[in-house]
């Protein structure tokens, strides 16, 4: 990998080598600064170790941090998608003209998304099982509020009773809050 990096940047390396050599030569010609013709072995070792540490940070550690950030962003993006699906249900309840097929399929999409989210998080070594279980419980309440209303039918649009709307609103606020807390939790890991 180091060899590949060197090959890729050969021209740049040669340029800076020449520049460094020229700077060194010119500095010996002008005697404003004086240089000792001895060197301290400890200082040389210190320089080598610092250079190697810099290389490690740049190549390995930086890559790990970048990979971790990508994983977090992926998970957070999936959480935002779920939040958007809940917003679709919320818009339906606000209008109070529920279309059965679309509503039921949206609730399924949400449920499937939660399962996929837990799997993705597990792949990235985040344990969010408790949060997902809590979310499933709230999701069941939301689904019941809009698909178990006495007016529920799959022939026409239907309007929800007040108690269903109240139940939906309470659980909707809670689930959105829990999803935001999950985003913060993932971000802090």
């Amino acid at each position: 990998m180091l060899l590949d990096t060197i090959k890729k940047n050969l021209v740049v390396i040669i340029f800076f080598f020449i520049l460094g050599t020229l700077a060194g030569f010119l500095s010996t010609q002008w005697s404003y600064f004086s240089f000792e013709d001895k060197f301290n072995l400890i200082d040389v070792l210190n320089l080598v170790v610092t250079a190697l540490a810099g290389y490690y940070i740049a190549s390995t550690l930086s890559k790990q941090l970048t990979a971790r950030r990508v994983e977090k962003d992926l998970i957070i993006e999936e959480i935002h998608k779920i939040r958007s699906l809940y917003n679709i249900l919320n818009d339906t309840v606000i209008e109070n003209q529920v279309l059965f097929a679309k509503t039921v399929s949206t609730t399924k999409r949400i449920s499937v998304s939660f399962t996929a989210l837990e799997s993705l998080a597990s792949t990235c070594n985040y344990n969010i099982k408790d949060q997902i279980n809590n979310a499933f419980m709230l999701n069941s309440n939301i689904k019941a509020a809009i698909t178990n209303d006495p007016n529920t039918n799959n022939s026409n649009f239907y309007s929800l009773e007040s108690r269903s709307i109240v139940s939906f609103n309470n659980n909707y606020q809670l689930i959105q809050q829990k999803l935001l807390e999950l985003i913060i939790f993932i971000n802090r890991q």
Binding site: F100, V104, S111, T115, F136, T147, N148, T152
Partner: protein, 114 residues
């Protein structure tokens, strides 16, 4: 040999609401025409009824509560839970929901009078 019942393949991919009066492919129709007859085949023997929940567009709470709640009311929670096996890879949590409907059936927690 166990009895397999796939809601998507043996009934419909777009299950409806609770009662027959609510529209086509209701939970009540599914119970009368598919679930109850299938369940009767596994009573009094070692067979299980395997219900596959995958492959549909989704389930309304009213559909599942009517279908499985009715099963619990008619045959008893203990018998139903001992005889039913669920397949639900798309929505694993659906199984927990249904178990709750089976348990709550006699308390009438979810049922709504039409």
């Amino acid at each position: 040999m166990d009895i397999h019942l796939s809601i998507a393949k043996n009934f419909i991919e777009t299950p409806g609401a609770r009662y027959i009066s609510d529209g086509p492919y209701s939970g009540q129709l599914f119970y009368n025409e598919c679930l109850k007859p299938a369940f009767k085949q596994v009573i009094g023997n070692n067979k299980k009824l395997i219900v596959d929940l995958d492959g549909t567009e989704g389930y309304a709470t009213s559909f599942l509560d009517e279908a499985f709640g009715s099963l619990s009311k008619d045959f008893g929670e203990d018998l139903v839970t001992s005889k039913l096996i669920f397949i639900s890879t798309e929505e694993p949590n659906l199984v927990n929901e249904i178990r709750e409907y089976i348990h709550e059936a006699l308390e009438g927690r979810y049922s709504n009078a039409s």
